[in-house]
Symmetry: C2
Subunit: 500 residues, 2 copies
């Protein structure tokens, strides 16, 4: 590594310094659950004080000793983005371990990465491969539950800023597309652009969270604590609940509807919400990705509800209620549950499985392939046919009034292909540990797509406790690369990145 | 349709005339099983005489009345290719129905399309959705068994010519790549090129079939009839057997080895075999696709055999025997079986599932995605990473000493994406009929990839009898589009094709 520190395009101390700043800020977040503990008097407030102190000291030291420069170079940017989610998960895992709730640091990091990537896959409520029985969600202290939800919420905000302000500048996975759409100054300087964009989007995100919190709180089944936790997990399309049975535990049409609505909103680009709130209604409704996302969601609700009504003998009302909740939960990659989709008649359940490969809009908190990519993929397919009839013609792809650069077309196709390859490899690795086909592909796509619940042994009523520790690290990695649009993280493992 | 007949780019009578010629030739093929029946004296020789007569009269009439022109235009080419497999299946299905063996014409067409596309999925040996018990394979007359194998063999030959001589000219799915590689004159005129190429490849195909036939025949477990049938099914990477238990029925290391070897050879481009037989050893071993195919096969054999040895407690010899047979059978999309891979420990069985998405070399009789596309996909992924570090650079993709045109790169990526989309849609359609996730995705990929056996209810020890008739037509269509490289057939369903 010694000569790496003299890499001409990467100043590692600079990278460490910035990561230090993030870890330092995480310290403030770690103090929040301490107050929850003090309110409910569960006696583990020192857990969070210790964790926060470690974050302050470690982060502060890194920042102080490697005082980062103003300007980030492109390769440093990739390192910072990738390592941020990793380092924050490593530090954010401390409360689970310091409190003694999880004896396994791996499990703690899994849960934190699952939180910060807004995946919502949990290791609570099952027996680990080393025979420890991880506690049920409902037996966890309030402060720990709050920390899980908060990790979602912070991760979700991070993702919005990343997608709309940082990845377009780094040119990852076709994200250049959204450069013009994001609010904030259109300067080429990274730092002021990011800060200004982040501030504007932050306001929208907070406003939506506050609104959902209020709408949930007014319902008698939800106290303020449950309302805030679920609002966090919804806006982040995260999926951690304070109940073992997820949203099903509340059994309320009202709560289902509110959460369905806000999951749907969280799946739309926050740049679009920003414009809408500024009164630019036209550009919101003209946005092709938003329209496509809405169309896919509505068609899917129709198909799944029809299946529930016809073959599972649900009433029309129930079919629509459970069908729409589960469709929106999967399309947005939230992963909340009000029904066990594995028990559905195959038409509905296999269709839902296909929806695991969709994902929300880019610039939302949703994960997965994302709607804009699907739109480009579909347009590209039709173009390909046209090209066969007119072999010499130059045929552009247009989304709305925008022509998609052929470079971005190729990158989007490559993204999709790589996504599926990694999905396949992930499934294989899980299978090596003795899990059957359905469980293996379920765990793989649920983590890579940041959805949470999968299939088979990792279905909506199960959890990820039983996977051997090495498998948990694989899934930690998959959550991370899925969340960071694959290329961002994987680039670091290619020789091209390190070539001087 | 009336004004369609005056389409400026398509002369429908010309298309019908050519199809007539193919149907007429099929008549000769239909006479072959008649002789088998006369030899074994099973009393259904008239079945084949009637079928052949219909083919002669129908095909002859079409040819005579719509006497096709010498020159085929590009859109006519697409129609001819797509409709050939359909029309020949419709006519080739007659013996199953005329003999009274199958009361359902759908089942008969399914079996014939499965034969001609070298899929090897069978509807024999199970109860249909209308309650009829289709006979077991071993209770079928010899002549019918021979017709099944012969349909494989003819379909395989058709595919070699199609891939190496016709599709490159039509520009389908990146197949332009192989234009330079195929033998025969390098003229741009379609007809002489195709005829000359076909003749040269035909000789190789016949020689290999003859050799395998002899090698199988010398084994005491195989009589000449079984030897010829399995040689046909092997070279075509078809997979129909004369035994209910497929190759497992013979339980011979020698037979397993011979078939493994010839499946492997059948998965290599016949243009390469042609060169090899002409003494051009260097270009055979320098061919990147052949090398990649060999590498993937060897690695897969290692992984699967290791799993069988470690987790299924096979001896080293058995692990290699069953592992290599099943790997080669799936990679080449043959679908023969010597072992029930669904019972394997998940490592081996899920890995084999991933191999369902590979396929042989282009220009072989193998189906699926094909090795050359995987090679381009992998190279493209690495290029994409390199591009992120050097955003302005123009980075080519090279396979051997050939630079892949960016047009072809895009087409290959588009092919793969479309392949997976159709796979997903196919699985959904099968699921609407009440089949579970594993069965649905198994049937979909097994038919689209022209493999044959799938998973779950359509595993290696099952068959396709129970699927409702509408589902059988869907799978017939999937076998056809998979075999004809998707674009060829699907193009006909796009408006671009019909635009004047
Ligand atoms: K989620
Ligand atoms: K086959």
């Amino acid at each position: 590594m010694a000569n790496r520190f003299r890499h001409p395009h990467i100043n590692f101390l600079n990278v460490l310094g910035i990561l230090g700043a993030f870890i330092f800020y995480l310290g403030f977040a770690l103090l929040a659950p301490m107050f929850i503990d003090l309110i409910y008097d569960e006696g583990i407030w020192h857990t969070f004080l210790y964790s926060a102190s470690i974050a302050f000291i470690l982060g502060g030291a890194l920042y102080y000793f490697f005082k980062p420069e103003e300007e980030l170079r492109i390769r440093e940017g990739f390192l910072v983005v990738s390592l941020t989610w990793l380092f924050l998960s490593l530090v954010g895992a401390l409360p689970f371990v310091i409190s003694g709730i999880l004896p396994s640091y791996t499990d703690a990091v899994f849960e934190t990465m699952s939180g910060l990537t807004t995946t919502g896959a949990t290791i609570f409520g099952g027996e680990t491969s080393s025979g420890f029985l991880n506690p049920n969600i409902e037996s966890l202290p309030m402060s720990i539950l709050f920390w899980r939800s908060l990790s979602h919420w912070l991760g979700g905000m991070g993702i919005i800023v990343l997608t709309l302000a940082i990845l377009p500048l780094l040119g990852v996975g076709g994200m250049q597309l959204f450069r013009a759409e994001s609010p904030g100054p259109t300067t080429d300087k990274l730092t002021p652009h990011i800060q200004e964009t982040a501030k504007l989007l932050w306001e929208v995100y907070v406003a939506f969270t506050g609104l959902e919190f209020l709408l949930l709180w007014v319902h008698p089944s939800m106290d303020w604590f449950e309302a805030i936790n679920h609002a966090f997990a919804t806006l982040a399309t995260g999926g951690f609940s304070t109940k073992d049975a997820s949203i099903q535990a509340f059994d309320s049409v009202y709560i289902d509807s509110v959460i369905t609505l806000f999951m749907f909103l969280a799946g739309i680009s926050f740049a679009m919400h920003f414009r809408l709130l500024r009164g630019d209604i036209k550009s919101f409704f003209n946005n092709r990705e938003t329209r496509f996302y809405t169309l896919i969601t509505l068609i899917s609700i129709f198909i799944v509800s029809l299946s529930l009504w016809l073959f599972n003998e649900y009433s029309v009302g129930d079919a629509l209620r459970y069908g729409s909740f589960q469709v929106v939960s999967i399309v947005t990659t939230t992963g909340f549950g009000t029904d066990n989709y594995e028990l559905w008649y195959s038409l509905g359940s296999v269709f839902l499985f296909l929806l695991f490969f969709t994902g929300g809009c880019a610039g939302s908190t949703g994960g997965g392939v994302k709607m804009i990519r699907w739109l480009i993929i579909i347009r590209n397919t039709f173009r390909e046919f046209k090209q066969m009839v007119h072999p010499k013609a130059v045929l552009p792809i247009r989304i709305g009034d925008k022509t998609i650069d052929h470079h971005i077309q190729r990158t989007v196709l490559s993204f999709f292909v790589l996504y599926l390859i990694i999905f396949g490899l992930g499934a294989f690795i899980i299978a090596t540990m003795g899990f059957d086909l359905e469980s293996a592909i379920g765990a793989s796509i649920a983590c890579l797509g940041n959805i949470g619940p999968g299939w088979g042994e990792f279905g909506p009523t199960d959890n990820y406790a039983q996977i051997p520790y090495i498998g948990k690290w694989v899934l930690i990695f998959m959550m991370m690369i899925g969340r960071l649009e694959l290329f961002t993280v994987l680039l670091i493992f290619t020789p091209a990145f390190w070539k001087q």
